[in-house]
Symmetry: C2
Subunit: 381 residues, 2 copies
């Protein structure tokens, strides 16, 4: 990524939050109106009423047994067949990725990632001395031939976001998932499958996680950040019992365990069918916002812009017409109170990203999306 | 520590929890009856009612601003004068220690600790390649001359538990605190002051944290685990704004931030005066248990045992008469359904600890303390 530009953009955006009338497509936050505040409140009460003092005592690093059982049942809805002892609870997906890195990444180990990849994950691997290597990436996921070439070159860990990728919105095709599973088994390598947006699908058919075809080689990451609340900090990983046991020991060293109260809230949210009830509301909210944004930006396709509508997630990735760069558009729009993220910040070599921008559609009301997109169109007119 | 014996003891104790009629002085848990379950429930409701969706959104790594302000006010009761920006919130003290180690410990760096020291902290430092070095320790804290010798030998970080030490119950004297503060300033070195039991004082006068005399060189660790609930996982550190800012970045990489809900519960617990109201109940509960245990074991002093009653905390450290070892007594008592921790497990060289046992008095009811101590006395009769 371009560190300086990224820092500048981040500072601008943070400063802008204090300004009136700003429209920000730059963030990566769920909409606060998607949070089931009353449900969380009722579940906190129920958890403390039923589990009492047990909930306030120390507990085990792998997570509450009852929650792990609930999760094992829940992930069937993602086509994952597993058991409670294959699941570990974490303080969100970031925490899962960190624990995995602490356990497995040694200095100079190669970490293979999509190009571009999720920004906030890279410092974790780098902090343990990993060398980050980009796999060529196409509209349906990584280039399989290039991936195999990289795997051949020696030991590595792979990090992939298969659904509605951040920032590109790309979903890895079923065919590529199958091939990736074959390759990681063939080269006996570990793959981190980070799937935070899994439940946020607005069109198309759900695809099987890579984990399903290579359960010995994948650590699957799930989270409650997009379907319940990011502020509660609850996530989980799924892998072999051996890996779960190792990661639980590491998690214990890092923080003993994830808060029991937040675990219990997430457990009841799933077990009582409240997620099933609430999720369609979130999907409906976001789907409309995505539709609005795509519709409002559609005229730009006549000017050479490419808008690839994602099947889910939180981001729209726009390929710019060749005469403008993400950074230039960023500066232009900033003057008009509209914030986007220029593609340059997502690539180790900023030049690779200059033809793109990332737009978040989940945390902006529809009327603001209309207004912001109008400003974008006018700026480019 | 003796890794094999420690593992064996831990396994025994975990297995024993499933057995009926076991009396365990081996654990290190607060009493569940000390947890204010209803208060936590009411505060969870109040937090969600007043902060609403904000509480469920992502927040900043250093912690909620309002909680940090509340903490700055609260720690005046510990004689610490500081500001919100000098405080960072963590997922318990273990998490604080881990974040500090991730930030500051480099391979082969020396970490100076009391002899013996708190067991669960050592793997953190070791995992970053630190060399653990014991400072000679007396009944009023570390030996100052030996400490200076070690400081002279080059770069190091010091880890100290100044109040009601685990396992020894020792409180570092005011005189030694002053001298330690002078030394760390003189050698410009960093000291981690881990103070989980601060509020659990049953006798004597509160002493000033080392932090007060060397705020540029100390990271002070506090926790809600012993005064509210360990299962919620809320702790904090206090240091310079520069260190707080560095540690917040590291915390962000590790887990983004501590759960907002648990932060808000701890905040209201302090801000509404509920801690002030509830704490005397915890102290009263534990003080009686300590008094009972000391009284019941007093006859052993005639057989050459030394019982140093701590001024607070959770543990009684007993020096055995010379003909019996901790491990031998452990095995003997295990047969009778009473569990203790043999001193051997607390020392890098187990021989150094063979003359001691550690007894937890907080999580055993008074009648069970009477019964368990009777069995200890009879075993030694």
């Amino acid at each position: 990524m371009s560190k300086n530009l990224a820092d500048k953009v981040l500072t601008d955006i943070l400063n802008a939050t204090a300004l009136p009338n700003v429209i920000s497509f730059a963030g990566g936050l769920p909409a606060p109106e998607s949070f089931p505040v009353n449900i969380v409140k009722n579940l906190a009460v129920e958890a403390l009423d039923t589990k009492g003092a047990n909930l306030l005592q120390y507990s085990r690093a792998a997570g509450l047994d009852s929650f792990r059982q609930t999760l094992a049942e829940y992930v069937k809805s993602k086509q994952i067949s597993t058991t409670a002892s294959n699941i570990g609870v974490t303080t969100g997906s970031q925490s899962a990725a960190y624990i995995i890195a602490k356990q497995f990444i040694k200095p100079n180990m190669r970490v293979l990632v999509e190009s571009p990849t999720y920004l906030a994950i890279l410092p974790i691997f780098s902090s343990f001395g990993a060398e980050i290597i980009e796999i060529k990436t196409e509209n349906d996921g990584i280039n399989i031939e290039h991936y195999e070439e990289l795997l051949k070159q020696g030991e590595s860990v792979t990090y992939i976001m298969p659904n509605f990728h951040n920032p590109t919105g790309i979903t890895t095709s079923q065919d590529k998932r199958t091939k990736i599973a074959e390759l990681i088994k063939k080269y006996n390598t570990l793959l981190i499958e980070d799937d935070p947006y899994n439940e946020l699908r607005y069109s198309g058919q759900p695809l099987q996680p890579i984990y399903c075809d290579a359960p010995e080689n994948v650590i699957y990451l799930g989270t409650f950040s997009k379907i319940l609340s990011p502020g509660l900090r609850v996530g989980y990983f799924i892998s072999t019992t051996e890996i779960v046991s190792k990661l639980a020991s590491t998690a214990q060293m890092i923080q003993l365990h994830t808060s029991n109260l937040t675990q219990a809230i997430a457990e009841l949210y799933v077990a009582k069918g409240l997620l099933t009830e609430h999720l369609p509301k979130i999907i409906n909210l976001y789907q409309k916002r995505l539709d609005t944004m795509v519709k409002e930006l559609a005229p730009l396709t006549q000017q050479g812009f490419e808008i690839n509508k994602p099947q889910g997630g939180m981001f729209l990735w726009v390929k710019l017409e060749k005469d403008i760069t993400g950074e230039a558009l960023y500066e232009k729009l900033k003057q008009k109170g509209v914030y986007i993220v220029p593609g340059e910040v997502f690539f180790p070599n900023p030049q690779d990203g200059k033809g793109f921008i990332r737009l978040n559609f989940t945390n902006v009301a529809e009327d603001k999306i209309v207004e912001g997109c109008k400003i974008i169109r006018e700026s480019l007119g």
